[in-house]
């Protein structure tokens, strides 16, 4: 088992960025087609990042590089932990620590745009964090039911249950999809930074990063996205072979849905985002947990 875990972690390390980079390219292509445009090449995200690394890096201070690099490393570390199948709570905690570094990267600059973006990024964290923890708890309780008492937070145990966890966690899955839009920084929740032009905060958290520093943040986002899709896939994994194509298909479908949501919705205010996210968390996540605790 350990061998498989190491292999999957190594595969993530090598392919995690590439997969999400391609997905980002497909996302842009798809968005363009939805809008009746031709759109850029599917490899466009790679061209962009390669260009960023070839350009001159203008920095405001020495801290920016350190923080951006820490962000990248922690995100990759988080993903590696996830694909190595360790404790899912540990993975989520590492993720929130990593997310903190993006905020620090922005606030280290004394710039109005970045600072405002950072505040919004923190609001996003405030909005999605409860659901993330509840997702972990939901996985634990589903393994509890499947194993008849003994629960486990270990991803490897969650992924090899008798049934896909989604059977027990439909509400939590919905809640997770909701916050996934925030984590992917997709409209209507692309509040702290956005890939679309003409927003009131320029580029939000990444405004004052350039060249190599921005490139690292971009790669980190790729790794983060692969990891998040991995969590989606985890809902569908069980000890049957067919669960693997099912999980991959589900993750792909979710990504597709996110792209469509991105294209059909307008950005909301952060107050609404927090209220919606918390409401969905309580209704979908909380109810699901209560049902698991008192009915099963």
């Amino acid at each position: 088992m350990l061998v498989y875990r190491i292999i999957s972690a190594v595969i993530y390390l090598i392919l995690g960025g590439i997969v999400a980079g391609l997905l980002a390219g497909i996302d842009r292509k798809l968005s363009a087609r939805l809008q009746g445009r031709r759109g850029p090449s599917v490899l466009q995200p790679f061209y962009d990042v390669a260009k960023l690394f070839s350009k001159e890096t203008l920095a405001l201070n020495h801290g920016q590089f350190v923080i951006a690099f820490s962000f990248l490393l922690l995100i990759v570390f988080t993903g590696v932990l996830f694909f190595a199948g360790v404790d899912i709570l540990l993975v989520f905690l590492a993720l929130s620590t990593a997310a903190m570094f993006l905020v620090f990267a922005a606030t280290s600059s004394n710039s109005a745009m970045s600072t405002m973006g950072a505040q919004r990024e923190m609001m996003q964290m405030l909005a999605y964090e409860p659901m993330v923890l509840i997702t972990a708890v939901g996985f634990y309780m589903s393994t509890q039911i499947m194993n008849g008492g003994e629960g486990s937070f270990k991803i490897i145990d969650i992924a090899t249950g008798d049934l896909p966890s989604i059977v027990y966690l439909p509400g939590i899955f919905l809640g997770f999809l909701f916050i996934l839009t925030i984590k992917f920084r997709k409209s209507p929740f692309d509040i702290s930074t956005s890939h679309h032009a003409h927003q009131e905060l320029v580029k939000g958290v990444t405004t004052d990063l350039s060249g190599r520093n921005l490139g690292m943040i971009e790669i980190a986002h790729w790794y983060e996205n692969t990891f998040l899709l991995g969590v989606v896939a985890l809902f569908f994994l069980s000890n049957d072979w067919w669960s693997i194509p099912l999980a991959v298909g589900a993750a792909a479908l979710v990504y597709f849905i996110e792209t469509i949501i991105d294209n059909v919705s307008a950005r909301v205010k952060w107050e609404l985002m927090v209220k919606l996210a918390w409401g969905v968390t309580i209704v979908c996540g909380g109810l699901n947990l209560l049902v698991l605790e008192y009915i099963f």
């Binding site: 405001l60 350190v66 820490s70 922690l74 360790v86 280290s108 004394n110 309580i282 209560l290």
Partner: protein
């Protein structure tokens, strides 16, 4: 005869630990010269820390031991005399409270004090409370508390010397210089805390408990301004209310159950023990500033910072936690436990929301204290072995990092003239050492892989195991809000703003000794975490629950990954700084729509004039800034507490 001698040696040591701080306090009360005070505080603190460490090493890992104390020394009844002595002191305390209550026309405090003191005195004098032969005891939990009190407390006393000098320098004529009194009170407090943790007997514990309440009251009123006096009386009446609860618990246990010892009470199988338990829980909730009694702790922030650090965050409020941990095995699965757990969880959530709206560093720290205490209280209320493990670790980490944070805020306030978080913008550039100490303290409070978060994580896991979904939800939401207020604080500290005014760092050596000591402790605690768990905390849980195979919820694999994470983070930051020094990166200015005047602080306005730019953190004051939130929460908690108590008492009567 042999056991008596052996017991005596240990007892004398314990007695010395308790009595020495009181002696040091008497010395402090009469020292008027600053240099003499400095030297005597250093010596006393060093003595207390050394003595406690030696004591801890000698008794490390030993089983819980009760010390028989029904002996006479050359025909002289020591215990009897001590008991009478305590009674006299209690009446003196009552006298002080009554006098001050009448002086400031706050009669209710006097009433509460008189009622409980007379009740306990009657209990003792009527002979109802003396069928006991164990007064003192010591186990691993006691040792941990002792180390916390001695090391953190001792360092804070040292800090206080330097701080108070600055304090009176800043406040000049408006505050009367009562430094002797202040230092004396700190040492009295240390002695009382030792007393609480070493007492096996409820009446002794109650005695020391009351002393801490009074010390806290006197220190909050240090400046004697109207605000300080009002706040001090609020703290007093709430703590005295808890004291009344304590007294009722003692009376009920003694008269109905003939139990005089805390351990016997917890071990008792009689269903009516829930009545003394809920009374003790009331005492603990007031002491630990849980809702609906949280307001006294906010008021306590008017006191000088060392007392905020020592009493109102690091140690005194932990007395409530200590009591709850002791009675936790008896609260498992009953209504008392449920009430305490829900109040704790609710407090954790509400206080962490409240912490968002404040710009005053000390207020944020105070709300964060209430919030974290709430989490620990919730752990105790659930009362299973896993949550107690988490509670003990939360208590240790919180003690060190909060004390560190209070002290750094105090020093920053004296250096920059403000403790407003907004004014700490770019502190890393202006006062790097202070900023780093503060950052470590905050990281210790909430970031993975540091201690608080590990403990919080195992608390979450334990709540799920205990099947308490409400607590899981409260913890999930409370963690998010906690994340928010700490992140925005750190992000202010780490802003690389070009400093405008550069003042000299006026933090004195006394303060640095303490801050440095705390920082080192904070980092060390994180690194020796697995060791602490195996050798110190697991045995405590085993002995509290009478089991011998407790395993913490965190597996070795997870601990290994956490250590790995610490190492990676440290390496990255060090390597990053080296790389940035080597690679020349072109510097630029911030993007400000092209109208930056060049210093990142001003921009060109529409009429070609220079305007100042100012950006602040978000405090969400329009969303949650009203007092209504706190009032509603207090009402809900009060209702919950009353319903819980009524149901508990009604259930067994």
């Amino acid at each position: 005869m042999y056991s008596l001698k052996k017991g005596m040696a240990m007892e004398l040591y314990i007695a010395l630990l308790i009595i020495f701080p009181f002696l040091a306090a008497i010395v402090q009360a009469f020292v008027k010269n600053n240099t003499v005070r400095k030297i005597s505080v250093y010596i006393s603190s060093a003595a207390i820390i050394t003595a406690t460490i030696i004591f801890a090493v000698l008794n490390f890992g030993k089983e819980q031991s009760f010390i028989p104390t029904d002996f006479m020394l050359g025909g002289f009844d020591i215990i009897g005399t001590v008991n009478y002595g305590m009674l006299i002191v209690e009446f003196i305390l009552m006298g002080i409270i009554t006098y001050l209550s009448f002086k400031y026309k706050k009669y209710y405090a006097a009433l509460l004090s008189i009622v409980q003191t007379c009740f306990v005195a009657w209990l003792e004098l009527s002979g109802n409370a003396h069928a006991v032969n164990e007064y003192l005891f010591c186990d691993n939990l006691t040792l941990i508390l002792c180390l916390m009190i001695a090391v953190v407390g001792g360092l804070i006393c040292v800090y206080a010397v330097g701080y108070l000098k600055d304090y009176h320098h800043h406040h000049g004529a408006e505050v009367k210089d009562r430094r002797s009194f202040f230092c004396a009170m700190l040492f009295v407090f240390l002695g009382a805390m030792f007393g609480i943790v070493f007492s096996a007997n409820l009446i002794w514990m109650y005695f020391f408990w009351e002393i801490t309440s009074v010390v806290s009251f006197l220190l909050i009123g240090y400046t004697k301004t109207k605000e300080a006096v009002d706040n001090s009386f609020r703290a007093l009446w709430m703590n005295l209310l808890g004291g009344v609860g304590f007294a009722i618990a003692i009376g009920y246990a003694a008269l109905k159950l003939h139990i005089f010892n805390l351990a016997d009470l917890v071990a008792s199988k009689d269903p009516v023990i829930v009545i003394p338990l809920i009374c003790l829980a009331l005492a603990a909730l007031t002491k630990s500033a849980q809702l609906p009694f949280s307001r006294w702790l906010m008021g306590a922030m008017v006191a000088p910072t060392p007392s905020s650090a020592l009493l109102h965050s690091a140690t005194m409020v932990k007395a409530g936690i200590y009591l709850l941990i002791r009675i936790a095995p008896a609260m498992t699965g009953n209504l008392v436990g449920l009430t305490v757990a829900l109040i704790g969880g609710f407090t954790f959530f509400v206080a962490s929301i409240r912490a968002i709206i404040h710009t005053d560093g000390k207020k944020v720290l105070a709300y964060s204290t209430i919030s974290n205490l709430g989490l620990i209280v919730a752990c105790c209320g659930v009362g299973i072995d896993e949550t107690i493990w988490a509670a003990i670790f939360l208590m240790m980490f919180h003690c060190v990092s909060k004390s560190l944070l209070f002290q750094t805020v105090g020093s920053v306030e004296h250096t920059t003239g403000s403790r407003n978080i907004e004014d700490m913008h770019g502190l890393i550039k202006r006062y790097p050492a202070l900023a780093i100490a503060m950052t470590i303290g905050i990281a210790g409070m909430y970031l993975a892989p540091f201690g608080m978060l590990i403990s919080k994580w195992s608390a979450l896991q334990a709540f799920v195991d205990a099947g308490n979904i409400i607590l899981v939800l409260l913890l999930a939401f409370g963690s998010a809000t906690t994340l928010f207020y700490w992140t925005k604080w750190i992000s202010k500290l780490l802003a690389y703003a070009r400093p405008t005014i550069r003042r000299k760092d006026t933090t004195s050596l006394d303060q640095w000794i303490s801050i440095g000591g705390h920082t080192v402790m904070m980092v060390a605690l994180c690194l020796v975490f697995p060791f602490l768990s195996n050798s110190l905390v697991n045995p405590i849980v085993n002995s509290l629950y009478g089991i011998d195979n407790f395993k913490p919820v965190l597996s070795d694999e997870n601990l290994f990954i956490l250590v790995l994470m610490i190492i990676i983070l440290a390496l990255v930051i060090v390597a990053g700084f080296v790389i940035t020094r080597l690679v020349k990166t072109k510097q630029t200015s911030v993007y400000m729509s092209g109208i930056d005047t060049g210093d990142e602080r001003h921009y060109v306005g529409a009429f070609d004039e220079e305007r100042t730019m100012y950006h602040a953190n978000w405090y969400l004051s329009d969303m949650i800034g009203t007092d209504r939130l706190m009032n509603v929460a207090t009402a809900i908690a009060a209702a919950g507490l009353i319903i819980g108590a009524v149901l508990t008492i009604g259930g067994v009567l």
